[in-house]
Structures are given as structure tokens and as C-alpha cells.
């Protein structure tokens, strides 16, 4: 019954095309306005950042692929069921923060939780926790751009957010879930 998870990620799509257009016109503008020396100095800076990022990205891809196969989905679903209380929200938050992997890992795991009886609030906390405080995501993607100081503070300010959203989600779900027909 469940929809197949789309895994094919195209290397180039419309959002990449928009950024490509912006990047190329910005590069041309810099070259024309500020000259070759400035152009080359920006290019070298960015290329060295890019080089630093590559091993992290490859590691992130490998971790995501391994975890998809290693993860005992049933066990985790048992921890975050509807009767799990605030502990379930906390477990979901911790799991989201420590589980490595990309969107192609996390959302199917959240879907598996729900199918195995996890509560909607816990699923929200899990997804939000992965999005905002997941360390692989922060290390692989965010760190090379922002640097350690900014990312650390951003993560600290984000720590309570999955718990707040999870509790809010559980409370809202209790009011709205009975109104819906079961279509899943």
C-alpha cells in the first residue's frame, strides 16, 4: 500500500539551474567590474573550501547508506509509541540527533515508526531533531560554510525546539486525528 520511495536524485534540476545562473552572472560581474586578480582570489578561496568539504560529503553518503541497512526499525518504533509520554518525545529527539543519514534515510525511518505505531508527535520531534540538530547534517553541510562557532551556537539554540514541537504536535494530533477518516 505504501508509495514507493523515490530515490533517484538528479544531479541537476531547476533549483540547481537557478543557482547556476546566479553564480555565473555573479562571477562574470566580478570579473568585469573588479578585474581578473579579484576574480581569481575569490575562485581560489571557494575551491579550497570545496576541496575541504568533499571527504565529509563522501563520509556522509557512506554513513547514510550503511545505516539504512543496519537500523533495527522495529526496536526504535517500540520506544516511541503513542503511550510513550514525554520520554517518547525525548527518545525521538535523541534518535533524530544521533542517527546519521540523509533525507533518503530519515523520512522512511519516520514513516516506519508511524507504521509500527509511533505517535505523530514523536515522529515530528524525530524529523525536526534530525533537521536542526543532526550532527552529520551539521558537520557535512553546514560547517564548511559557516565555521564552528556559528554552527555550535545555532545547534545550541535549536536543542529545545524538537521537544517543543513534538509536544505541540502530540497535543494537536489528539484534537484533530479523531476528525479524520483513516485513509492511510
Amino acid at each position: 500500500m505504501s508509495a514507493p520511495v523515490r530515490r533517484n536524485r538528479r544531479a541537476f534540476d531547476w533549483s540547481a539551474a537557478v543557482i547556476a545562473a546566479l553564480a555565473i552572472s555573479a562571477a562574470v560581474t566580478v570579473f568585469v567590474r573588479d578585474g581578473q586578480a579579484r576574480f581569481l582570489s575569490i575562485l581560489t578561496d571557494d575551491l579550497s573550501l570545496f576541496g575541504l568539504m568533499l571527504p565529509k560529503v563522501l563520509a556522509g553518503c557512506l554513513i547514510g547508506a550503511f545505516v539504512t541497512l543496519l537500523l533495527p526499525r522495529e526496536t526504535i518504533a517500540r520506544w516511541v509509541g503513542a503511550e510513550s509520554g514525554i520520554a517518547g518525545i525525548l527518545v525521538a529527539t535523541v534518535a533524530g540527533a544521533i542517527l546519521p543519514g540523509g533525507p533518503f534515510t530519515i523520512y522512511p525511518v519516520a514513516g516506519a515508526f508511524l507504521a509500527a505505531g509511533a505517535d505523530a508527535g514523536a515522529a515530528c520531534a524525530f524529523v525536526i531533531s534530525w533537521t536542526l540538530i543532526g550532527y552529520t547534517r551539521a558537520i557535512v553541510w553546514e560547517l564548511p560554510f559557516f565555521g564552528l562557532d556559528f554552527v555550535t551556537w545555532r545547534v545550541i539554540f535549536s536543542l529545545p525546539l524538537p521537544i517543543i514541537a513534538g509536544l505541540l504536535g502530540r497535543w494537536l494530533w489528539r484534537y484533530f486525528a479523531p476528525l479524520q477518516k483513516d485513509g492511510a
Binding site: F12, V18, L43, L70, G102, L161, L172
Partner: protein, 165 residues
């Protein structure tokens, strides 16, 4: 130095997980290796674009304009504008971070950039449609989006109060 430690930490995780999987099943291990490498190659052009683009775009953005909309003096209104801009930025792994770094380099305030980054991470429509909806029941996805609405402002507000980063 920190960058090196981070790399060592990440690759230690890769090795431990890889050994665990290889011990369980060699063909599964090889399959997932191939999958990971394909994923990596598919990501390369996006990362290159995000990295190279952010430097050049930052260079040509007028700083006064950035300061006026997202500068440290814009306060809560700047955060709201930043959060809306984040939600409207297309998804994909790098684009939001690239634009946010650009903003930071051109004089945007840290709380505003935090609001932008978090809103982008939580709401980028493309990611919701491509990854989240196929994998989770749609009404749980909309609940997730609904309860996420206050979060960019909570984090940015905390940054404003604490005065960091």
C-alpha cells in the same frame, strides 16, 4: 585542526558502520557502497555550484541593501523577513547554506541568518514534496510543518537575547 578532527571522527563512524555491515552480509555491504558513491557523484555539481556561487554572489550583493533588510539592527521584523525568505528558498542540500553564508558575509545579523537557515531547513517545499510526502502519511507531514512554524523565531529570539554567535 578542528576540521581534521571532524574528518577523523566522521571516517571513524564510516569504518565502524562499514565493518558492522560487512560482518553481517558482504553483498549488502558492496551494494550500499555502490549506492553511496552514486549519491556522492550526483551531489558533486550541486556542492560545487553552492560553494563557488556563494563567494561570487556575496561579492556583488550591495551591502547597504543587505544591512537594511537583514542587518543586526533590523530586530524582529528582519527575522520575520529572513524566515519567509528561508521558506521560499528552494531545497537541495547546499543552496540555503550557500545563500545564508552569502548574507552573513555581506553584513546580515546572526539572529536573522539563524532564522533564515532554520526556516529553510524546516520548510523548503521541494524537500517536503520529494522526500517527506512519499515516505510519511501526508497529514503527519502537514502536522510537522504546522508545529514547526514558531521554531525559526524561537531560535533567532534566543540568539538575540544571548547575543551570540
Amino acid at each position: 585542526m578542528t576540521a581534521l578532527l571532524v574528518d577523523i571522527f566522521l571516517w571513524a563512524i564510516v569504518i565502524v558502520l562499514g565493518l558492522m555491515l560487512a560482518a553481517r552480509s558482504q553483498p549488502m555491504f558492496l551494494d550500499s557502497l555502490r549506492f553511496a558513491v552514486r549519491e556522492f557523484i550526483a551531489l558533486l555539481p550541486r556542492i560545487a555550484l553552492g560553494m563557488l556561487g556563494s563567494g561570487f554572489i556575496a561579492e556583488i550583493l550591495p551591502q547597504e541593501w543587505m544591512m537594511a533588510w537583514f542587518g543586526p539592527g533590523t530586530g524582529p521584523l528582519g527575522m520575520v523577513i529572513a524566515a519567509v525568505a528561508g521558506a521560499l528558498t528552494p531545497g537541495g542540500p547546499v543552496i540555503g547554506f550557500a545563500l545564508a553564508t552569502t548574507a552573513l558575509k555581506s553584513g546580515a545579523g546572526a539572529p536573522q541568518v539563524i532564522a533564515y537557515t532554520i526556516a529553510w531547513a524546516l520548510f523548503a517545499l521541494q524537500r517536503v514534496i520529494i522526500y517527506e510526502i512519499p515516505a510519511m502519511p501526508a497529514r503527519v507531514v502537514w502536522l510537522r510543518v504546522l508545529v514547526s512554524l514558531p521554531l525559526p523565531f524561537l531560535a533567532a529570539g534566543a540568539a538575540l537575547v544571548v547575543g551570540k554567535p
